[in-house]
Structure formats: structure tokens, C-alpha cells
């Protein structure tokens, strides 16, 4: 699978070109048609003229990150988050800026200059800056400009079954989608890699309007908090127990017919599957399910620890199980359609 390559590629919301070009190369040999729309969503189509329900499988290409908002006289860069970035984890992290991937580090007031009360406080965006080694604004402006986007410079690593990397939300879903393009299905399947999910599910609505699917499945990376002091009631999902199906979050109530089909197929095929046990967050399913006259939609996701930070941790087996179950699901839809109520 291409998880390493996708994880290390850059694609902050609205600047998805690099990740899109990469995905296009990977899917091209497997599908009939590939195209991009005006927002930048990438569509890979297989079996367009086959009879049977039209299935849309979706994963978002974009990741959370930062954007340069000001270049100061001393050559330091100020920035704002793009999407929901946890400011507590930013200080001292290496980053790559703009198309040329200029290397920098997120800095803050040195520890020996902090007052005691400052040491116990979380540093906000106003207290942080990026240092690219420029001695003044003139030098900095040769390398970067206001509006450039910033990704975390995180290398992909393996720790046995566990994988470390940035942006598994939602490069895990993108990886799964690419794998699925290799399968043969008896119905038309639209693989859609969406843009700007992290800033408000913006790509998915127009994409779903264009595809007008009969049923949709969103593949995601979702939050897992199965660690440390967390009460078991707040784990949300657990690594290694299979992909997680969302019953409800802030954006969608997954279609009950699709959800029960996923659990039935998982049971019959011995694939581990868990429920997501919190209802926070939202995904492209929120927009897809409400497009046109409504689309039966569900969300399946790989559990990821430390989501929306420079390093995410996931279990490779969960991803493999997600691919397998999604494949069986589409085969079943092609045969039997969706039970609506």
C-alpha cells in the first residue's frame, strides 16, 4: 500500500495539488477515467455504464496544517491554523513551508526567560512563530511569502503493527481507496478524493452533487484515545480492534441500513469491526448524505491516536481490514442494493 508516500506528501486544505498528483498516478492504471473538478476534487471512475446502484467511495486528501499570515521585520514568521490543530503540541516542531518545502521550526520564548506562571500555560498562536533562519524580513521574503502553507515535517515510521506518521486523517482513507481501485465490481463505482474537509467539508458537497450516487461510504481516519488516564468511556475507538463505524457524529447519523449491512458482512467474514463510541467531529458524510434528494451514507474509519497533531499512530491491520470490508460491502451492494428503512 502507498500509506508512506501519501503520509509524507503535502496537502493542506485548499493546497492539495501535490497529494492529488500522487494519487492520480496511483489510481490511473486501475480505472476507466480520472478527472478533477473546479474545487480540486479528484474522481476515479470504474464501470460507469454498468447496471446496478451507483456507489460513491470518498476519502479526503487534505490535512490540517498552518498558513503564514505575516513576515516580521526580524525574519520570523507568524501563522494561523488551517483546520483544527491542537496548539499545545506545536512548539519546537520542524515544519516545511510552501511549494519549495523551506524547512523551519516552530519557536517560542526560551524556557529560562519564562516566568513561573508562563511555564504552566499553554502557548497560544500569538506566542508562537516559525524560524527559518532568516536574519530579517528581506531575507525571509526570498524564501517564503504570506499565504504559504505549512506542513509538519514528519517522516513515516513503522513500530511493528503500529505506524507513525502525519496526516493518517485521512491518508489512511485515501490509501484504502487506492487499494479498492484494484478490485473488480459489478456496479459503477466512483472513487472520490475530496478537498477541504478539514475546513468545513467543502469539497464533498459539490462532489456528491456531481456523482449523484445511490449509496456512499466515507473512509476516514478517526480519533482514538485508548491510552493513559482516559476513562474507558471516552476511548472513542481502540487501535487493533478493526475499523470503526460512526453511528452518529456532529455532521451525520449514518444510514441504519448501511450500518447494519457493514456489521453483518463483518460478522460473516470474520473481520473485526468496532463502533465509534463518541459523537464528536464531522466528516464528508455530513455533506454527501444531504446532497440532492438524500444519499444513504455511512462512515468507516481507521482509529488514530494523536489525531490533528504532527504525529499520528495507527494499526496497519485496521487499515487492511477496512479495505477488505469495503470491498465486500460494494460487492454486496452490487448484488442486492441497499435496504432503505
Amino acid at each position: 500500500m502507498f500509506l508512506k508516500e501519501l503520509s509524507e506528501a503535502s496537502g493542506i486544505s485548499s493546497r492539495e495539488q501535490e497529494i492529488r498528483d500522487l494519487i492520480r498516478e496511483y489510481v490511473k492504471p486501475n480505472v476507466d477515467e480520472v478527472f478533477t473538478d473546479s474545487l480540486g476534487n479528484l474522481y476515479a471512475v470504474k464501470g460507469k455504464d454498468k447496471v446496478g446502484p451507483k456507489v460513491m467511495l470518498a476519502a479526503h486528501m487534505d490535512e490540517v496544517g498552518l498558513m503564514i499570515t505575516n513576515i516580521e521585520k526580524n525574519g520570523l514568521l507568524r501563522f494561523s491554523p488551517v483546520g483544527g490543530v491542537d496548539p499545545r503540541v506545536l512548539v519546537s516542531k520542524p515544519v516545511a513551508i510552501g511549494k519549495n518545502k523551506v524547512i523551519g521550526v516552530i519557536g517560542a520564548k526560551a524556557i529560562h526567560l519564562q516566568r513561573p506562571e508562563e511555564r504552566s500555560q499553554v502557548l497560544g498562536y500569538d506566542d508562537l512563530y516559525i524560524d527559518i533562519g532568516a536574519s530579517d524580513d528581506e531575507e525571509a521574503k526570498k524564501l517564503v511569502k504570506t499565504g504559504d502553507v505549512v506542513v509538519f515535517a514528519t517522516k513515516f515510521q513503522e513500530l511493528g503493527d503500529l505506524l507513525l506518521g502525519k496526516a493518517f486523517d485521512d491518508r489512511a482513507g485515501c490509501t484504502a481507496l487506492i487499494e479498492l481501485t484494484k478490485c473488480e465490481f459489478a456496479c459503477p463505482v466512483y472513487f472520490v478524493f475530496t478537498v477541504q474537509e478539514e475546513v468545513g467539508l467543502r469539497g464533498a458537497g459539490p462532489a456528491s452533487y456531481r456523482v449523484a450516487p445511490d449509496v456512499a461510504l466515507v473512509l476516514e481516519g478517526t480519533t482514538a484515545s485508548d491510552v493513559g488516564e482516559t476513562d474507558e468511556a471516552n476511548y472513542s475507538t481502540t487501535l487493533g480492534e478493526g475499523p470503526a463505524v460512526t453511528i452518529m457524529d456532529r455532521s451525520v447519523i449514518s444510514h441504519p441500513g448501511v450500518v447494519s449491512m457493514l456489521f453483518k458482512l463483518a460478522r460473516e467474514n470474520g473481520i473485526p469491526l468496532q463502533m465509534k463510541r463518541t459523537i464528536t467531529g464531522g466528516t464528508d458524510a455530513g455533506k454527501i448524505s444531504l446532497s440532492r434528494g438524500g444519499v444513504p451514507t455511512a462512515v468507516m474509519a481507521v482509529p488514530c491516536r494523536y489525531i490533528h497533531s504532527p504525529v499520528t499512530v495507527m494499526n496497519y491491520n485496521d487499515l487492511q481490514h477496512m479495505v477488505k470490508l469495503a470491498e465486500i460491502f460494494v460487492q454486496e451492494i452490487a448484488q442486492k442494493g441497499v435496504e432503505l428503512s
Binding site: 474507558e232 468511556a233 452518529m248 463518541t278 444531504l290 434528494g293 428503512s341
Partner: protein
């Protein structure tokens, strides 16, 4: 109509699980061919060559969803729609399979510490294994509270929005002679973001939209500063957080109320929204309005309406359905 109101309020249907209320309404309107769409909206149509008017009343109610079952068999949960934590301890819930439970709260140092995370449901199970025979993570439950008749005033859970469902069912039973094309939508998932109305409005593509829903009142001790009160007639909405009612629709409703001697009051709501918020933004825009039934204690287990207001809303809905619209 009171029997119908009682039957509908007592039905189980939290957002996303509207099957049982949909079946009840379908049976009430057995004379019509009905359609259920992908999200579960029930769509009932009387064809005509005149203007297409989409009436919408949401079928769903607020509730809870189980997020965790602990070793001792207690359930933790999150809210479906706008549920307040502070008045939940002591309340009872029912699951789709009939399982009952009571809500209680961890020992708190002070009442101000009460939040959703400190609440749990006790279904009488003695272990996780026993609980899981009855309830799974991801299951929804609705609150239970009997219907009580206080004369003009009636009280139950889910007056929001079964009182409006009652009006819409009755409207379809007693439709006036008209050329207008009337579409009644019993919508789903209003309480989690006007979702059913969004897709129904796209499918129906109406000329006019009219949501029927409850609204808050300002007639209780040290309550909201708001003109609307129980027993003062149908409330014609001017605005809420989801819509500025189309001036033509608002004026038409006032004109029809005056002409037919239907008691009415104007409603300006500083919060909240209704299906009209979704309908009026569908496709390239739909002139839309809202007929509101004033309701005290909205989103509690004891929502109170005045039956005479319900009758006034029905009369005005009928008048609008039969109106000559531009």
C-alpha cells in the same frame, strides 16, 4: 384530534430512528399513496395544477445515544439534539426494543458540576454481559413521559414536534378544494440540523415552503422576554436563527388570519431554527414561512401547549393551502 395528538406524542422516534412514528402517520393517511425517501422522510402528495406548496413537520424528537457500557452494566451516553443535562437526573428512557432505564448522576460535590459526562443510565443490569443482551453501544433511546390533559392545556414529551405532525396529518385529511399542489413532508433529523428537510426540499422543488413547528413562549414566571404566549392563537414567525420569513408569505398569513377570524400572534424568536431554514435555501431559493404552535418548557419531558392554538394553526394552514398565491 386530541387522541391523535396523544398517540403521536407517545411514539418512539429519536432523530435517525423515525421508523415507528412514520408507520403510524402512514397508517393515518392510508388514503394517500406515500413515499419514503433515502433519509426516511415521509412524503404525501395531493396533486394540482396550481402552486406547489411544501408543508413540513418534523417527526423526530430529541433523545440520547449509548456511547459506552461499563463492567457493572451502567450506560454512558451522549445527546441527540438539544438536550439539557441539568434536568435529566431521575428521568426515564426507552429503547427501540422496549428496554427501559433511569438516568442518574455520579456523586457531585456541588450541583454546578453536573454535566453530561457525569450522568449514566441504569437499566437494572448487574453486569456488562447482562446489559449487552438488551442494549448495544450506538443504540438510541427516547425519553418517556405520559400525555396529560389539563383542559385547554395539554402536556407531554415530544409536543416538539408531534403537535405539528398532528396538524399536518389533519390538514391532509381535511384539505380544502384547491388547484394548489400540496406536498406534506414529515421530515427526519430536524433536531440535529434540519437534515431531512434539506433533501426533501430538493426532491419536492416547491414554489412555497411552510414549516409547522413549536416555538418558545415568554409567558412564564421570570421567563424569556418574548411576546408569544399560550392561548393567544397561531404564531406567525417573523424570524429565528435559521430564516427571515419571506415578507410575502408573512403578509399572506396575516391577511388569511384576519379574513377568516383566526386568532394569531407574531413570533420573533431569538434562537433556534425550523425546517423552513433548510427549505428556503434549497435549489435557487423558495419563499418560505413558519406556522408555530406556542410551547412552554420546550425540550423538557413536559412540553405544554394550548389545544386552541393547535386548532388555530390547523385553520391557518388550511387557509394557506387553499390560498390564491402569486
Amino acid at each position: 384530534m386530541k387522541e391523535l395528538l396523544e398517540k403521536l406524542t407517545q411514539a418512539y422516534s429519536p432523530s435517525g430512528s423515525e421508523r415507528s412514528i412514520r408507520e403510524i402517520i402512514k397508517a393515518e393517511l392510508a388514503n394517500y399513496e406515500t413515499k419514503t425517501d433515502a433519509l426516511g422522510n415521509l412524503i404525501v402528495e395531493k396533486k394540482g395544477n396550481g402552486k406547489k406548496i411544501m408543508f413540513s413537520a418534523h417527526m423526530d424528537e430529541i433523545g440520547i445515544m449509548v456511547t459506552h457500557i461499563d463492567k457493572e452494566g451502567f450506560l454512558r451516553f451522549d445527546f441527540i439534539g438539544g438536550v439539557g443535562a441539568y434536568n435529566l437526573p431521575g428521568e426515564r428512557v426507552r429503547f427501540a426494543n422496549g428496554t427501559l432505564g433511569v438516568i442518574s448522576v455520579e456523586k457531585l460535590d456541588k450541583i454546578g458540576d453536573l454535566k453530561r459526562e457525569s450522568l449514566y443510565i441504569d437499566i437494572g443490569a448487574e453486569s456488562r454481559e447482562e446489559a449487552e443482551k438488551l442494549v448495544k453501544v450506538g443504540d438510541s433511546a427516547a425519553f418517556i413521559s405520559p400525555f396529560i390533559d389539563l383542559g385547554n392545556r395539554v402536556v407531554s414529551k415530544a409536543m416538539d414536534n408531534r403537535s405539528a405532525c398532528t396538524v399536518l396529518v389533519q390538514l391532509m385529511k381535511e384539505l380544502p378544494e384547491t388547484d394548489n399542489h400540496i406536498v406534506a413532508v414529515f421530515s427526519v433529523q430536524e433536531e440535529v440540523g434540519l437534515r431531512g428537510a434539506t433533501t426533501a426540499a430538493f426532491s419536492v422543488a416547491p414554489d412555497y415552503g411552510m414549516a409547522i413547528d413549536v416555538t418558545a413562549t415568554g409567558d412564564t414566571p421570570k421567563g424569556l422576554t418574548m411576546e408569544v404566549g399560550l392561548g393567544k392563537g397561531a404564531a406567525i414567525k417573523v424570524k429565528d436563527r435559521s430564516i427571515m420569513v419571506h415578507p410575502y408569505v408573512k403578509e399572506k398569513l396575516i391577511e388569511l388570519a384576519e379574513k377568516n377570524n383566526i386568532p394569531y400572534q407574531m413570533e420573533v424568536l431569538e434562537f433556534g431554527g425550523t425546517d423552513a431554514g433548510a427549505i428556503h435555501l434549497s435549489r435557487s431559493g423558495v419563499p418560505s414561512g413558519v406556522l408555530s404552535i406556542p410551547c412552554r418548557y420546550v425540550h423538557s419531558r413536559s412540553e405544554m401547549i394550548d389545544y386552541r392554538d393547535l386548532e388555530a394553526v390547523l385553520k391557518l394552514a388550511k387557509a394557506f393551502a387553499g390560498a390564491d398565491l402569486q
